[in-house]
């Protein structure tokens, strides 16, 4: 069985799906990614589907599951590079991929992850400051 490679680039795991995946390959990717997120501590996952000429309900569901599992493991997933014809077909099929963040290409996906990470860190800092303030005033 073929396997989709998962590359680590800085704080991001990058997956570029270059083959017409059998269902088992998609399920294997789901498992591989969860393991790599935990092993590397990466906070972002980018899945490039620009070479996929179709996304059917099975692949769509797999992408949604990957996004949910990543979130539970403290990583954000962005699906990038969807072809226009694929987007039209997916919506008509009835699959609007709720809960999945998308960007037009890898570069914009990386920017999106960097922004959302920065926002999360600001929130965390604010909470720390609030905690400290509470301590000093008491």
């Amino acid at each position: 069985m073929e396997r989709v490679p998962v590359l680590k680039i800085g704080d991001i795991l990058l997956v570029s799906i270059q083959i017409d995946m059998e269902d088992q390959v998609a399920l294997q990717l789901q498992e591989d990614l969860a393991e790599r997120i935990v092993a590397t501590g990466c906070h972002g996952v980018i899945i490039d589907i620009s070479t996929l000429d179709i996304v059917d309900s099975f692949v769509g569901r797999t992408l949604a599951t990957i996004a949910s599992v990543s979130r539970v493991l403290d990583a954000e997933t962005v699906v990038v590079g969807m072809r226009p014809a694929v987007a039209i077909t997916l919506v008509e099929l009835g699959l609007s991929l709720p809960g999945i963040r998308t960007a037009l290409n890898v570069e914009l996906g990386i920017e999106m992850l960097a922004r959302s990470r920065a926002e999360t860190e600001v929130e965390l800092d604010d909470e720390d400051d609030a905690d400290q303030a509470a301590v000093t005033t008491s």
Partner: protein, 134 residues
């Protein structure tokens, strides 16, 4: 179906991939638009998976058809599985007996121009879809 149809047995995941590739090839030959190619291949993928998962395997036949006014592609998915007892329910968005999303049958129907289903409990299922060139 005309003389040029091709038959693929569907017994594994790999066969579903083969069905997608054959349908894509025929759709390109028939000069379907890119969006229509994508819709037809997606519908074929959903239905071929159903043939495998619910029908226990079967066959997919892909061929070009021609009516008096236009040309198109016809695909027949046949299995000797348990058949579908409640067709209306099976065609409802979100209904599934297999742990999927329940979009395969209903979604595939939306993606093609003609959709016919012949099934009965214990008699297997045959689904015929047609996409016409615009």
């Amino acid at each position: 179906m005309n003389q040029e149809s091709r038959l693929i047995p569907v017994a594994t995941d790999q066969d579903v991939v083969r069905v997608r590739q054959l349908v894509r090839t025929v759709a390109v030959e028939a000069k379907l638009s890119l969006v229509d190619q994508t819709k037809l291949v997606t519908a074929a993928s959903e239905l071929a998976r159903n043939t495998l998962v619910y029908g226990g395997g079967g066959t997919v036949e892909v061929g070009r058809v021609r009516s008096e006014i236009r040309a198109g592609i016809r695909i027949v998915f046949a299995d000797q599985g348990p058949g579908i007892a409640d067709l209306d329910l099976a065609l409802t968005d979100g209904y599934t007996t297999g742990g999927g999303l329940g979009l395969g049958l209903s979604g595939a129907r939306r993606l093609v121009d003609e959709f016919a289903i012949d099934t009965a409990p214990g008699k297997g299922t045959t689904i015929t879809i047609t996409k016409w060139c615009r």
